[in-house]
């Protein structure tokens, strides 16, 4: 019996519909979810299954048609835009598939933007940004423009930005969608280190590699959850067989 207080993200009967009458599309259809602190949860599904919409609902970027959303102990589905914005400053960090960095700002300026918009003083924001860039391994590229960074590096900058305000949960929407496998590995490593540091992560993806890093994997189809798997467990000692080595 999970302690409700521990749940960083909670959703009850979440529904999101577009259109009316005959043409109604149910992007999210009755989703219940709980993510406890420190967990990494992956939501997997084919494109169009509604996972991105679900993420937007959980992060307060969109309002549900029905149901409740609780974030860091606060109910957010009925909040006004202003309160939602304030909540986004403190409780949530977003990572997007397209990175969404400002092209004309350097890496450090991109990272500190979050803190500046939340009202930190420039010096504090700058210092934190540099620390975070160090943490993601890009300390020496702080003054680079995004155009001078590889895809994996850009996403790492975006992750650093998401961590800027010490969010309760990091919501990642297809974080490796635009990355090749080498860059994916970079991001994977980063997620693992975040997980080890106790950061709560909710990742939406159709990449099984990313999904495999999670503690829990939820499959989604047509707006609803269809399956849940616990992936934690020891090694099976059977890798050799996968490689073609007879034991």
């Amino acid at each position: 019996m999970r302690d409700v207080v521990d749940a960083v993200v909670r959703a009850n009967g979440l529904r999101k519909e577009y259109g009316k009458g005959e043409g109604t599309v149910r992007a999210v259809d009755g989703v219940d979810l709980e993510v406890v602190a420190g967990e990494t949860v992956a939501v997997m599904g084919p494109s169009g299954c509604g996972k991105s919409t679900l993420l937007h609902l959980l992060g307060g970027l969109d309002r549900p048609s029905d149901g409740e959303v609780w974030l860091a102990g606060r109910r957010i589905d009925r909040l006004g835009e202003k309160a939602l914005a304030r909540m986004r400053r403190t409780a949530v960090g977003f990572v997007f598939q397209a990175f969404h960095l400002m092209d004309e700002l350097t890496a450090v300026e991109n990272v500190e933007l979050s803190a500046l918009l939340a009202g930190s003083s420039p010096r504090v924001a700058r210092r934190r940004a540099i620390d975070l860039l160090d943490r993601v391994g890009l300390g020496d590229r702080a003054e680079f423009l995004p155009s001078a960074l590889s895809g994996g590096q850009r996403q790492r900058v975006a992750i650093a930005r998401a961590l800027s305000n010490k969010p309760a949960v990091v919501l990642a929407d297809e974080p490796t969608g635009n990355l090749d496998s080498a860059a994916t590995l970079e991001v994977l490593r980063l997620f693992e280190s975040l997980h080890e540091a106790g950061q709560t992560l909710l990742i939406v993806t159709h990449d099984s590699r990313i999904a495999a890093t999670a503690d829990r994997l939820i499959s989604m189809r047509d707006g609803a959850f269809v399956d849940e798997t616990r992936l934690t467990g020891g090694t099976s000692g059977q890798l050799g067989a996968l490689a073609g080595l007879e034991g």
Binding site: S52, T53, H56, L61, D62, E81, K82, A85, R86, M87, R88, R89, T90, F94, F96, A98, H100, M102, D103, E104, L105, E109, E112, L113, S114, L116, L117, A118, G119, P122, A125, R126, L145, R161, N165
Partner: protein, 618 residues
């Protein structure tokens, strides 16, 4: 030939795809061309009617008058005038005719007039042309046409002249005097004997004709009569040199003559210039206004075009990929805007030509002024050239740039990358969130920011110049009869108001368009800002500030620019607008721009964040 057709087809199809923008473009250029047309037509209108009047009335080349000496007791010396008539170069003359100053009263108005005594015979020089009724006879008065128009009298009305009752027998025009309210000869009314100075000339002075006996009876004493004579020269263009021999040194303008002039003498060119003075000020205001509007139009179009050029990039890429040369591509882009400009020029010419008489009937006192002269080739040429020039100027740089971009980049729709202004970014980091957003949004497109500043500066400078002109009007306004609005001030006032309104409207359109373009462009940045935690209110005020701040800079720059404009347009004018008006312009402009930009900014701040982030990229 095929290529030209292709260019035309592509251009027209694109215009049809975006009717709103094409319409906006049209309106903007139209404002400039219509104003310019009115100004140019007026310039024409001023010149012709006087010429027509001169020919129709056998107008004189020189008009001279002589007053009785101020010391009194003696009549005016007609001999001097007669001597002038015998001078070399004079081929004909009429007069000397007696003239007396008097007050004309009718319909509750009282006006100072000069009453000239004529006989019924037709003369060779200065035979006023009757436009209503008939020529002088005893007991009757013929009123100059502009005066009749202002007073609302026509043939058959009763008027009181110097206390005597007269019947208006006719209305006539003449080229020997400037139409009401500015007759060129100043015949002082009864001056008390022994006074050393003349009373100042009345602001509004009219002209009427009586028979010679009637003039003498109105004058009372013969030695208070003045005399006027009209001369025709062998060489009309030499009138000024003829006059130079006789005219005393002119007193400095505006100063009271220390000694009353013995008489006055004027050339036909001076009369013509004064006759068209009314029109000239308006014409000057309109032409200046037209140029200012043209500048504003350039700024507006540049913003419109610049905003859409990003869209065009893809089309350009397609054109080039299927084999279009950069020249063709640039031609298609320019063709669209040039077509709109030509249409705007055409419509502007028609609108301006129709509107000119409404604005300023130059004078009822000149022949041929009831209709407007047809558009001269020069006017059509100038206006079209300005319109096309404005369009080309505004679209040249983007068109060339679009034509030069690599095809691959264009096809991949690599949108124009925002510029990085490091110092702006550094400063904005210290400011509260909305200002941070505002500075960064503005700094992404420095060219648009400069255009915004420029357009507000142009509008403000125009308004400042208009305020100065208004101040000048107010300072010189001491009409003798306040109910009788002097045509000069009234009409010029209307023109100034019209110009100001158009400047403001155009600048407002510019502000809204610029905000809209800016909001669209910043849609991505504002969505991201909201995802990072900015409230919609903060975002909308930031987007509005991104327009207001350049407007503030522009308004401040516009003040000295406007003063410079005044100095350039009218070098001898020393009237400046009152300080409070100048100081008020800046905050009023800022508030106005803020009001205009709030709505697009708010709309832009409310769009769905998720949607924008899904579809947009940088």
């Amino acid at each position: 030939m095929g290529r030209a057709l292709l260019v035309f087809r592509l251009a027209s199809r694109d215009l049809r795809r975006r009717p709103v923008e094409a319409a906006l473009l049209l309106v903007v250029i139209l404002a400039a061309t219509a104003t310019l047309t009115i100004g140019l037509v007026l310039r024409q209108a001023a010149a012709d009617p006087y010429q027509d009047t001169r020919e129709a009335t056998a107008g004189p080349d020189v008009v001279a008058s002589i007053n009785p000496p101020l010391s009194g007791g003696q009549p005016a010396d007609r001999g001097e005038l007669r001597a002038m008539a015998d001078a070399s170069g004079v081929i004909a003359h009429s007069g000397p005719y007696p003239v007396v100053g008097a007050k004309l009263a009718v319909n509750g108005h009282t006006v100072d007039v000069e009453a000239e005594g004529r006989d019924t015979a037709t003369v060779q020089v200065d035979q006023p042309k009757i436009v209503d009724g008939s020529w002088v006879r005893d007991g009757g008065v013929v009123v100059e046409a502009a005066l009749a128009d202002a007073l609302g009298v026509s043939a058959g009305d009763q008027v009181s002249l110097a206390g005597h009752s007269f019947r208006v027998v006719g209305v006539a025009v003449t080229a020997a005097s400037v139409p009401f309210p500015e007759a060129s000869l100043y015949i002082p009314p009864d001056v008390p004997r022994g006074s050393r100075k003349l009373p100042p000339p009345p602001e509004d002075l009219g002209l009427v004709w009586l028979t010679e006996p009637d003039v003498r009876s109105v004058a009372g004493q013969t030695d208070s009569l003045s005399y006027v004579m009209n001369l025709k020269l062998a060489d009309p263009s030499a009138a000024s040199s003829f006059v130079a021999a006789y005219a005393p040194a002119d007193p400095p303008p505006g100063a009271q003559p220390s000694e009353p002039p013995v008489g006055t003498i004027a050339t036909w060119q001076q009369i013509r210039d004064n006759a068209s003075l009314l029109v000239r000020n308006e014409q000057r205001a309109l032409v200046t206004g037209g140029w200012l509007l043209g500048l504003l139009a350039v700024a507006s179009i540049a913003v419109l075009v610049g905003g859409r050029m990003a869209d065009q990039t893809r089309r350009v890429g397609l054109l080039k990929a299927v084999g279009g040369t950069p020249g063709l591509v640039a031609a298609v882009l320019l063709a669209e805007y040039v077509v709109v400009a030509v249409v705007a020029a055409g419509v502007g010419l028609v609108v301006g030509w129709l509107a000119a008489p409404l604005l300023t009937d130059p004078s009822a006192g000149l022949i041929g002024s009831t209709g407007t002269p047809p558009l001269s080739l020069a006017t059509v040429g100038i206006v079209t050239a300005v319109a096309v020039g404005v369009a080309v100027l505004a679209t040249f740089v983007p068109a060339v740039r679009a034509a030069r971009t690599s095809t691959v980049l264009a096809l991949a729709d690599a949108a124009r990358l925002p510029r990085r202004t490091a110092w702006l970014i550094a400063i904005s980091a210290r400011l509260p969130a909305p200002l941070l957003l505002a500075l960064r949004v503005a700094g992404r497109r420095p060219r648009r920011m400069i255009l915004s500043i420029a357009s507000v500066a142009v509008a403000v400078s125009g308004i400042v110049a208009a305020l100065a002109a208004n101040a000048e009007l107010g300072a010189s306004n001491f009409a003798t009869s306040p109910e009788l609005d002097t045509m000069r001030t009234q009409r010029l006032g209307h023109v100034l108001v019209l110009i100001c309104v158009m400047l403001i409207v155009l600048a407002a359109v510019n502000a809204i368009v610029s905000t809209w373009a800016s909001v669209l462009d910043a849609r991505y940045a504002s969505a991201l800002a909201r995802a990072l935690g900015l409230t919609p209110q903060q975002v909308s005020s930031g987007l509005a500030m991104a327009q207001v701040l350049p407007a503030l800079v522009g308004a401040i720059l516009g003040l000295p620019a406007g003063l410079a404009l005044i100095a350039a347009a009218d070098p001898d004018s020393t009237t400046y607008p009152p300080l409070w008006q100048l100081l008020a312009v800046v905050p009023v402009t800022v508030v106005a721009v803020a009001a205009l930009t709030t709505i697009p900014a708010r709309i832009g701040a409310r769009r769905s964040v998720a949607e924008i982030l899904q579809s947009e990229h940088a």
